[in-house]
């Protein structure tokens, strides 16, 4: 019984760790640029495919399987540079537009990236050769848990702390927060907003792609994974509160664990419950648990 519960909970926390990365990307972009990036799920999918390819190339070239996480994480981070391209090439044109148009532009990205993935990797599910259990499994209170899951959970926690440090302790973080509070003021103080936006969007993108890369040993990449994840990430940020990092953290835990428990107990309810929670939060507390944005 306990073993089962631990399994369910840790499964949920693993999913939450991935969700947090994508949602954090969504939050940092929304917090500073006021753009709700529907494409963050697509970046996640892109990261998954590129990560899988990198690992396959690595093991194909005779790299030691035990080190697969190195090319995986590197690929996940590096592919984040598409963020610069997207920001400079597309988003930069619509900052003075109504947010409807910004939202639709990210929807255009969703459409394009989904097919770019299909064009590059085909429509069949794509995965790494069995590396999920390369680090073995450990026994936790009777439950057998893949070590890889624990590594991802640990990495996600470290990234959460890292973002917290970045936002509160560094000059860049102070600039970001100033820009989020008052763009005009930041500009008047000599901050080059174009560079801030490019950096922030790239950071957001890299978080998404890294999330995608890290999930890939545990599952196969599919072209629809992006549009499916975005609605979960959306639930995370609504529950946590738009633009809030702490909100992304707590929201991811809520959604991840909730979903895992629902699947185990009553599969029909899975996402249904999540959406009910989302609606309840939006209606009763539109700021979310930690949001500061007034409606």
């Amino acid at each position: 019984m306990t073993a089962n519960l631990i399994n369910i909970l840790l499964g949920g926390v693993f999913h939450a760790a991935i969700l947090f990365l994508v949602a954090a990307g969504l939050q940092v972009v929304f917090g500073v640029q006021r753009i709700f990036n529907l494409a963050c799920g697509s970046f996640y999918a892109l990261g998954a495919y590129v990560g899988a390819s990198a690992v396959n190339a690595f093991t194909g070239a005779g790299g030691p399987p035990a080190l697969f996480i190195v090319p995986l994480a590197l690929a996940g981070l590096l592919v984040g540079v598409v963020g610069v391209v997207v920001e400079r090439g597309l988003l930069a044109f619509v900052y003075d537009r109504d947010e409807t148009f910004q939202l639709l532009l990210t929807f255009a990205l969703v459409l394009m990236l989904e097919d770019i993935v299909r064009l590059t990797w085909g429509t069949a599910p794509y995965s790494t050769s069995a590396l999920y259990l390369a680090y073995g499994q450990v026994n936790l209170l009777g439950a057998t848990v893949p070590v890889y899951n624990l590594i991802v959970i640990g990495a996600s926690l470290a990234i959460a702390l890292g973002i917290g440090w970045l936002l509160t302790r560094t000059v860049f973080g102070r600039i970001i927060r100033a820009a989020a509070d008052n763009r005009e003021m930041a500009e008047a103080l000599g901050v080059d907003m174009r560079r801030v936006y490019a950096k922030v969007f790239t950071l957001g993108t890299a978080l998404g792609t890294l999330g995608g890369a890290l999930v890939i040993p545990a599952t196969a990449a599919m072209s629809e994974m992006g549009i499916e994840l975005i609605v979960e990430a959306f639930a995370v940020v609504v529950i946590g509160g738009l633009g809030s990092m702490r909100g992304a953290f707590v929201g991811a835990l809520v959604v991840g664990v909730f979903r895992a428990v629902a699947i185990a107990v009553y599969p029909e309810l899975e996402m249904l419950m999540i959406y009910l929670v989302v609606i309840a939060v939006l209606v009763l507390r539109p700021r979310g648990l930690f949001g500061r944005v007034a409606v």
Binding site: F101, L103, A108, L109, I116, L269, Y275, P286
Partner: protein, 319 residues
Amino acid sequence: MRRGPVALGLAAVTILALPLVAPVYHVLLMLPFMAYAVILLGLNLLFGYTGLVSFGHALFMGIGAYTGAVLTTHLGVRSLELILLASAVLGALVAAPVGALCVRYVKIYFGMLTLAFGMLFYTFLLKFYRLTGGDEGIRVLRPSLLGFDLAAVSKTDYLAGAYYYYSVAVLVLAALLMWRIVHSPFGLCLRTVRDNPAKAEALGISIVRSRWYAFVISAVYAAVGGALLGPPIGNVDPTLAYWTHSGNIVFMTLLGGFASFFGPVLGAFVFIFLQDTVMSVVPYWRLIFGAILAFLVIFAPGGLMGLFAGRRPGEVSRA
């Protein structure tokens, strides 16, 4: 503006004559176009006239489509008139409470709330297999039209003949009714609410009530259009209610031009036929359509109608 009636007349003649002259394939493509045209006429009351962008209208298309499927397959009701009526009523019944919650918010929060309701319904369709057939959906049996059974007619003759003209009639009625709505005192109030909510309230116009009416009307249109989508396919499934479907109809509206009455209808037409053309060459329509959408958003937010009218982007983009 004189060009308007001429273009409209030409379009009407073309649509009426099409089954007589065009290949069946193109006639059949007109069926989803007309269904989407009905849906978009309603969506634009919310988008263009009220300034609210819903990312959850797939919910109401789904309600209409599934109403048709359940009525014909499970309840033995074949009359398309009854199906459309039931879709409209169910759409309104669901939209009334959903809309009452959603219209309290604007912009991104309105979009998110509608998206959440849409996905709630999608998950319901997907998970409650016994009721909804899960991801396989439900078959839609051939509806009778105006009391005529038409079961003996071949499928192609039915769709490209009677069903085609029936759809034309529904679209014309829907357009006439919407024309009256947007040119009514209520329609004017909607535009005041869109342009400046605070000033509208100061003039005694209730913004919440105006938006709520617009929401419910647009949902009824989406449900009726959704019911029309079912019979040509012969099957309905949960993807109809998925959030990307909501996104696509917003895309169609923008493509045609949300600032004009017929813009969304044009958008539906171009979307359907362009998608078909692209897919006959390469399967990657999303890549091309995504690029088109990006182009529209950046360079031509007024859509095709905006380009025809020579309107500058600044005049339609509202800050």
